[in-house]
Amino acid sequence: MNEPVIRLQGIEKRFASTRAVEDLSFELPRGSICGLLGPNGAGKTTTLRIILDIVGPDAGTVEVFGRPVDHETRMRIGYLPEERGMYQRMRVAEHLAFFGELKGVRRSEALSRARSWLERLELGDRADDRVETLSKGMQQKVQFIATVLHKPDLLILDEPFSGLDPINVDLLRDIVLERQRDGATVLFSTHMIEDAEKICERVCMIAGARKVLDGSIRDVKRSGGHQHLVVAYEGDPGFLDDSSIVTATDHGQWVEIRLAPGADPQTVLRRALETGVRIDRFELAEPSLREIFLERVGRRPRTGGNGEEA
């Protein structure tokens, strides 16, 4: 019952001379929502394509719903590719019905679902227009509907929110979370770490074709073993140059400080006040995903990782 929805073991994939994915093992529990994070070119899209068996891995095994990907499993997946292609000359509702039908939904049922989805995404009046008349953002929403129309058990979304305004991002995010509450498992890739931090229970970070860490966000944040401080101040940043501070990341309005093991936050505060800095905010915090990511990826050579588990 508790077997993972996705299980990758030792996946390798090369394209000509470049390594796209290297020794990737990864499990996604049923009902979870997981962000696949990594910089551009890290191998996120290739990983998703391998899960869908659009490209075959050079080595390793892929299991979805407990078995190798076959047609039955694909019918239970909703996939939103990063490159969003549509039949430009088809009418919106028919376009949706076509893709729903390919996923085994009866045509009449697919059509009525398409219309109610369009209604919900504020495209109800465009149902009978040609796709080519829609703006890019509208097309992206239509494509998103095509991904969820057949009520898939697994949603695989490649950069689902890129290029959308905040209102539409919220709209789609609500739908994703709603699907998850209904029991679907969600895996989506993004290079916007803040996106993932807001909605994910789990993350999997890859960089330079390798997995850097994965697990539930709580575990990931605890795994560092470091205490983090969030400090907002006015004045001379000299107090940050201290042996008890491992790194200080400037987020603009505030600084995220990673303390050395065993260091006391109070000494940092005392030193800051001694140097005459005015403190607006001083709190013990969990490390942000960005901080963890930078620690794991940004501060070492891109391909130099040894793939250790977090």
């Binding site: 869908l52 659009i54 490209v55 047609h71 039955e72 694909r74 019918m75 997946i77 996939y79 590719p81 490159e83 969003r84 292609g85 549509m86 039949y87 430009q88 000359r89 088809m90 076509f98 893709f99 039908e101 390919l102 996923k103 085994g104 494509q143 095509a146």
Partner: protein
């Protein structure tokens, strides 16, 4: 409905989309309506034009150095020989002894000399003094008189000269008429239902050309459809729902259904047009040597043509689908299509020669070969009596080749549709086929 059979729900869904997307397009409406009009026009127009060209008066003046009243007799015979009255044939001279050769005639015309007092002549028929002995006259044309008039003049002159020669030999006028009575060979088919042989042969040519055009049009439609899905990245979503072979088969069946629909509409339009209008065109067609009176509908030819359209389409469609999957841009399509089109173009190149000898060994061999049979076999069925085993064998060979090709095309398609960038070279293609 989740079965994996060759006609499962996904294949029919893809096929229906392909069908509807095209049948609803403006292109379909246009080509379906315009082609029959052009087709009928192409058949009738030349005949009408030939008719018109005879009606158009083109004065020809006869310059007679031969004597013996040959010019008078020629003009009289021409007028008796269905040359329309407006058509002027008249005689100049023999005015003077200086009109001896064509060169001086040319010189005098060039100098602007009025050799005839009527309107400007289109041509001068020069009858030399030794016409009866040598049998050679010269038609000096200023304007084109056309093949029909030339043939009339030539054959009428032949008659006149022959009768003069017979008179010289002392044959009586009555006997001459007897000798000159025309002889002709009337060609008739063995079985009466076949209708006039000339018409069947012409139909065979028309059918072969129509099949050729349809294969090219629908083949390119497949290639472009595949390319469209590639360049617009639709393929990425399709592939997450549909197996590549299901995509390919659905596309081929959908576009094929468009073709059959179009043929059916054309069939109805042409039948209706024939019932109402073609009878009126019969005299014009007769001018071209086509006697359509008493022609029966060549059902065997039509049925075989449909069989070869379907089987030939299935064979070529795999080639075109693979070609579309191989390229990544519209410009590349043409390059890949040229080799794909070769097996379709070749039978058209040999078609005129093959029509003359439809049962020659090389024609029979070519008409059995899978890539050529869809075009050559209908032509042979029209032009000759093809044994049933041959037309059936051609279909069997076609279907076997289709299966083999579908296998290869499916593999190329599977790899090709997700490929971007550079077109694969031949060794890479072979690798796709072996590991695809």
């Amino acid at each position: 409905m989740r079965g994996g059979g060759p006609l499962n729900q996904r294949v029919t869904t893809v096929a229906r989309r392909e069908f509807l997307a095209r049948v609803r397009s403006r292109w379909f409406l246009f080509s379906t309506l315009v082609v029959p009009v052009l087709f009928l026009g192409a058949m009738i127009l030349p005949a009408v034009l030939v008719d018109r060209s005879i009606d158009d008066p083109k004065p020809v003046f006869v310059i007679d150095n031969a004597g013996n009243d040959i010019a008078d007799r020629l003009i009289e015979a021409l007028r008796a020989n269905e040359i329309p009255a407006e058509f002027l044939v008249d005689r100049v001279g023999p005015t003077a002894g200086d009109l001896l050769d064509v060169e001086s005639l040319r010189g005098r015309i060039a100098a602007g000399e009025e050799l005839a007092d009527a309107e400007k002549p289109a041509a001068w028929l020069y009858l030399p003094a030794n016409l009866i002995e040598e049998g050679t006259a010269i038609l000096v044309e200023d304007r084109d008189t056309g093949p029909v008039l030339r043939r009339r003049i030539s054959s009428t002159l032949q008659e006149v000269v022959t009768s003069v020669r017979l008179e010289r030999a002392g044959v009586g006028a009555v006997t001459i008429e007897e000798v000159l009575r025309p002889t002709s060979v009337s060609v008739e088919p063995l079985s009466a239902e076949d209708g006039p042989a000339g018409l069947r042969q012409a139909l065979g040519f028309v059918f072969a050309m129509a099949l050729y055009v349809m294969f090219i049009v629908y083949g390119q439609m497949i290639a472009r459809g595949v390319l469209e899905e590639k360049t617009s990245d639709i393929v990425e979503i399709l592939i997450s729902s549909v197996r590549p072979w299901e995509m390919m088969l659905g596309k081929i069946l959908g576009i094929g259904a468009v073709g059959l629909t179009q043929v059916a509409i054309w069939g109805v339009v042409i039948t209706v047009a024939a019932a109402f209008g073609l009878a009126g065109a019969a005299p014009a067609l007769a001018q071209l040597g086509l006697d359509i009176s008493g022609a029966a509908v060549p059902w065997d030819l039509i049925l075989w043509s449909i069989v070869y359209f379907i089987t030939g389409y299935l064979l070529y469609s795999g080639v075109f689908a693979a070609a579309g999957a191989l390229v990544t841009s519209e410009q590349d399509v043409q390059q890949v299509l040229i080799p794909a089109l070769m097996p379709i173009i070749l039978p058209i190149l040999v078609l005129p020669a093959a029509m003359q000898t439809p049962d020659a060994t090389w024609v029979v061999a070519m008409s059995l070969f899978p890539f050529f049979s869809p075009i050559l076999m209908p032509m042979r069925i029209a032009a000759s009596h093809v044994p049933l085993w041959q037309s059936a064998l051609a279909v069997v060979l076609l279907l076997s080749a289709t299966l083999a090709l579908a296998w290869a095309a499916g593999r190329i398609y599977r790899v090709g549709i997700l490929m971007k960038g550079k077109r694969p070279n031949l060794p890479e293609l072979v690798r796709w086929l072996r590991h695809g």
